[in-house]
Amino acid sequence: MSEFFNPRGVAVIGASAKKGHPNNQIFKYSKEVSLNGKVFPVNPSADEIEGVEVYKNLNDIPEPVDLIVFAVGSKNAISTANDIKIRRETKGDAGAVVIVSAGFREMGTEESIELENEMISIIKSSGARVIGPNCQGVVDLFHGVNTTFSVPPNTPRGGLSIVSQSGAFATSFIRWAKEFKLVGANKFVTLGNMSDVDVTEVLDYLGEDEKTKVIAMYLEGTKNARALIETSKKVTLKKPVVAIKAGRTSVGSNVAHSHTASIAGDDSIYDGAFLQSGVLRVDSIPEFYHTSRVFDKMPVPKGNKICLLTVVGGPSTICVDALVASGEAQLAHLNDEIKGKISSILSANANVGNPDGYIDMTASVTPKMHEDIISLLMGDESIDGIIFITSPPGFIGDEDLANAIINGYNSVSEEKKKPLLTVLMAGNDVKNCRIKLEENGFPTFEYSDEAAKIMLNMVRYGQYLQRNK
């Protein structure tokens, strides 16, 4: 698998000279991100693409190419597969093949399935591995690999890796996060028809990958769900896996003779199996994005006691409801000592500890108050996580507020760090505050109930780790 992510050279078979063509974009991105510049276009009917000499055949490339981007139409599939096999057998490279072309199994016709089977068996007979077909392939932001036509080369780097059975899902996540620097990415793999490398193998690989801090997985299905769950169990002990799965509505299973078999749909088994193996299954796309990204930025909570610090009333009440409804998380207990300290910082009409674990600072606040109180909460070991909710008052500057939060948080030593989620209920009106926080590794949210849901997911994973230590 490592040849996909750290190749000595890349060949793009079917690279196009035409501006605006996907195969032109794929070549451009591959070339642009490459650390050593060893990206070679292959196309029998072009001489130069983006100023680079074109090879007529894969086997003409004199330098090592470990990664082959296969972007030719299905009518040339077999001859291209044979070229790869020859290359592999004569030069020993070409060990990783990404087939971005479509027109195979996904068409559902007998011919297209046969064509795919033949193409894959030719390539595999040489010992090379295949991702795809019908996918956007792989990205590795640290090693300079990008076989897609839609992941911008200047994507921020970080600890998130994505494995997805939909190319668009993976690329849109990255692009959604870009402007506000919501997440930094590492690797991503889109699987397409999974004719060789499947979701379980990639999950296992990302589990072992040191730079991957959290794995986001979009799943449609796999032939061997048991293997996926066994691998998940192993990986989730090391890092969180966040999954969103299509197919909430179940397709009837085969004839059953028992209540049990007739009632069980794939989806309900996935529910149970994911819980059992520590995978965080989420229901919506925003929850998928946010849950994945918080783990890149914040530590896993050690327990389920959450403190709510707020400047605004209503949204915080909604947040508490969302947080404690399932019983999995609760508000933290604030002892008299910390309550006294907090009260002495805030104005007289602030609400400190009613209900327990809840602090309403009121709107008469200064950046310094934010910093001091967050610092106190960070230092209290009976608190496992903090949600801070504000609609920043107009008299506090974006920069000052962000710095206060950052300084308060960083006032404790590394091992005392716990998750802090910041809700800025003012949308783009506090854009600079948001970007400043995100850049410094502080996840921000627009909605308080959303933050509660994400904190709850963090707590669930933390509890799973505690149980399986």
């Binding site: 769900a225 059953a256 028992s258 049990t260 009632i263 309900s268 529910d271 149970g272 199996a273």
Partner: protein, 230 residues
């Protein structure tokens, strides 16, 4: 045990006969009601005394699928005299309705008092392998669909979380002043059903429904074991 299963498959059964199903469950520590198979009135009364009244009697014949419709189930029998009378009447009724049926005997079983009904089930899924289900039991299982799933094998802690995910869990804990039932033993039964399913390739599905839950025990009143016939 494996012999029983293979034998039943050879005979062309898709579902293991009730008494055998009970035996195989008991061999995995799953508690079933005290049961005797008898062939005459004297043994029947003897069984009634051993089990203790009240008892239920059921016709035992592979030729009769719908026992109740055939008059082959009589419940709530409280004395030797009543048992003797009901035994003879039942045989007469069933033979009248199914003169060609091969009647292998009569099952005498402890009549269980009302308990909370749950279902413990398992089956082998093509993708997931052995899967275990727990939920609200009884005849409306498919309607309420109050169930949760795990892959087998699992331990009692995992089974406990599985139970906690269902609505019936609150009822098991005791509502409206009722005593809580013995949830630990139910969790153990879930684990055992998983182990049983893994042990035997010959079994494709298991339903224990209903499992009656009491403050100090549970009893799997009806065990259905579906055989892997292919």
């Amino acid at each position: 045990m494996r012999e029983i299963l293979r034998d039943s498959i050879k005979k062309g059964y898709t579902v293991l006969p009730e008494l055998e199903a009970q035996k195989i469950c008991e061999s995995y520590g799953i508690k079933c009601p005290p049961t005797h198979l008898v062939n005459n009135k004297e043994d029947c009364i003897d069984a009634g005394n051993k089990i203790g009244y009240p008892v239920v009697i059921k016709i035992f014949s592979k030729d009769i699928i719908h026992k109740s419709d055939a008059g082959g189930v009589v419940t709530n029998i409280n004395s030797d005299e009543e048992l003797a009378e009901k035994y003879e009447n039942m045989l007469k009724t069933v033979k009248g309705k199914y003169p060609d049926a091969n009647i292998e005997g009569v099952v005498v079983q402890k009549m269980m008092s009302k308990g909370i009904e749950v279902i413990i089930g398992g089956f082998k899924d093509e993708q997931f392998g052995p899967v275990i289900m727990f939920g609200t039991g009884g005849i409306y299982v498919e309607v309420f669909k109050d169930t949760s799933f795990r892959l087998a094998p699992l331990n009692v802690d995992e089974a406990r979380r599985q139970v906690e995910e269902t609505k019936i869990f609150k009822v098991l804990q005791g509502v409206r002043g009722e005593k809580a039932v013995d949830i630990d033993s139910i969790c153990q039964a879930i684990v055992n059903v998983g182990d049983l399913l893994i042990e035997y390739d010959e079994i494709s599905e298991i339903d224990l429904n209903p499992v009656l839950c009491y403050p100090d025990e549970y009893v799997a009143v009806d065990a259905r074991v579906v055989l892997a016939t292919n």
